[in-house]
Symmetry: C2
Subunit: 374 residues, 2 copies
């Protein structure tokens, strides 16, 4: 894997990432394909939004259908018919949050599968073995991700173990597979910066920020990002894990983040929520019952350009029709992809400051507000 | 609406149906879009299977989102973005089977909505008004559809009331909307033939066979169809409602049926069942866990031609992923559409007898059997 910064505007970076499955322009948003499918969507639909990199979930695919099975079918790219690049997370976050009877010690996680209760053991070496079998272009190290508001001593312990696990992952990784380290430290900026420096000394291909969006306030997160992101080695791609709303992405791009992932566009779609240029539409709201407009009159996604009205999409959502999930998911992913495309354009033109202002004003408070245009 | 028979082979007919929304080649299978969406599919995907006529459900759309709302949005074609022809059933079957506290008398049905318990009244006139608002190309008359094994007196009463309701529907129908009458009479062939003759005297645009596949054995149904279908006025399209398996369609085409509808291809898909040329695959079966083949190696549908393996589709199904419902639904509808295309080809070549034999042998007992190829 190779990463090159093509242009800068302020602290924002326009980058290019070369992977064995094609190049990725950054800043980029990675759609989430938890179980080997971006929920409700066909891989060609995801590709048509412009996405060239998605992220799948090691924990889920390891338990079902099994990493060996995926490997026998030519790896995850072939299995799920996605020709572009794939990242996989380490499985640690899910082992901790989804599994039952979890024990963590220096060697790794011990837990009971949430599917059948079977005992499993996830170590840095096992995570790398599984990610190697899945054949992703970018693997993530196993890490310790504490929730918000834990004592500093716990943050320090998480940071130190995460570093040791990064070294073990480096030793165990499959040749040719890129590996990103994960910076922890909660909202403790000094700890984060120290950890960033420590990990930068390892031959990791990228640096991810884990442990954000775990319960702290968005303002606290952005205050920390302001100072932590510039402390990440600027030659490597920077990936903010599990974040966030469109405005979160705008703010994080402006301080130098290159990669994002979040379930929000697809999960919210299945809850009837559409991201539009002026905010969010909650389609269950009765105001959309007779609304003949598309979700977003400025949007060029298939759902908006093929004449599907808010009234029809609301009907599909209320009636529980899968086509509703499909069209809103497609629209939301398109919205996120377009936002990243506009970021890249702004950076290449040296206009990122204006872009942040326009995006924040255009979307205004509305981007993350509950209520939106009528 | 105009219907013309272009060729015959045995008792099978190749027909063409001109509607305000395009022509339909018959024999044809109508995908079911109960609530204004063929479940899990985009209208363009349905169209790409070759379908030019689908059927939607008056009862469901009347209750939600409401026929007036659909009319305000330009009718059902515009609302659901389906440019081809649409048929709508009368709503009677659902009022009887889904609704609560149902009363039937000469004027119509009184029932409580299954959605909110509100009292509703469905008469022949109201059904025609609702279907007129939906703007379908083909309306179905309100009828009385008794279950299997009712006494003959009840069948006779159903037949007679259905005739009177056909007359009321004819008087109430929207100008320009085609109206099909519905022949009842259970598996009582004499009663069916008499009813067919009675309805043929009315200026109905087509004749449907209702009250099949309501609990009687398939053999009993096909024995009745052998004698009843030829008794239907041969100048008008003949529509067998709610039937059936691929082999049911083959047998019914061979005795002269022109139109079909059934939820089977889409509903079974959502239950993990795929129709293939040699039978049916139940994807939950462990034998498909590592099966790298497409659903059907002879199939040209997108799911089969884009390299999605049985193993992947099984994984999607077991994991509850919407993409599984999508791809299997697409495949199954394609399978039904291809079956009808092969019927039309066989009839045009005067080879329907061979076609029936090949289809029955190729699919053999397997077409409708539980178990299939490995």
């Amino acid at each position: 894997m190779r990463f090159e910064i093509m242009a800068r505007s302020g602290r924002a970076r326009l980058g290019q990432l070369w992977t064995p499955h094609g190049t990725v322009q950054t800043p980029a948003f990675m759609p989430v394909g938890t179980q080997g499918s971006v929920k409700a969507l066909h891989p060609m639909e995801v590709s048509d939004t412009g996405s060239r990199l998605l992220i799948a979930n090691t924990y889920h695919l390891w338990l079902r259908p099994g990493a060996e099975l995926v490997a026998e079918h030519g790896g995850l790219h072939a299995f799920m018919r996605w020709p572009h690049a794939i990242a996989t997370d380490s499985g640690g976050f899910q082992a901790f949050s989804l599994a039952e009877r979890v024990r963590v010690d220096e060697s790794g996680f011990d837990f009971a599968s949430h599917l059948d209760g079977s005992r499993r053991r996830l170590t840095p070496e096992e995570s790398m073995r599984v990610q190697g079998l899945l054949g992703s272009d970018i693997a993530l190290q196993l890490d310790i991700c504490p929730p918000a508001n834990v004592p500093r001593s716990e943050l320090i312990a998480a940071v130190e173990r995460t570093t040791r696990w990064a070294e073990r992952c480096l030793s165990a990784r499959k040749p040719g597979q890129a590996l990103f380290g994960i910076v922890q430290g909660g909202t403790d900026v000094d700890l984060r910066c120290q950890h960033a420096e420590t990990l930068a000394r390892l031959p990791l291909d990228g640096l991810a920020l884990g442990g954000f969006s775990v319960g702290e306030s968005p303002d606290l997160m952005h205050q920390a990002l302001e100072r932590v992101v510039p402390a990440l080695d600027s030659a490597r791609p920077r990936y903010l894990m599990g974040v966030g709303t469109p405005l979160d992405l705008v703010r994080a791009v402006s301080v130098g983040v290159d990669l994002f992932d979040c379930v929000m566009p697809t999960r919210n779609a299945r809850n009837g929520q559409a991201f539009v240029s002026r905010g969010r539409l909650r389609l269950k709201n009765a105001r959309y019952r007779t609304d003949a407009r598309p979700l977003d009159e400025t949007c060029s996604c298939p759902a908006c350009s093929q004449g599907f009205s808010r009234a029809y999409l609301r009907h599909l959502y209320v009636a529980g029709e899968i086509l509703g999930h499909r069209l809103i998911s497609l629209h939301n992913l398109h919205h996120y992809a377009s936002l990243m495309a506009s970021a890249r354009k702004a950076i290449s033109e040296g206009q990122v400051e204006d872009w942040v202002q326009v995006m924040s004003q255009r979307d205004g408070a509305a981007v993350d507000s509950e209520v939106v245009d009528g």
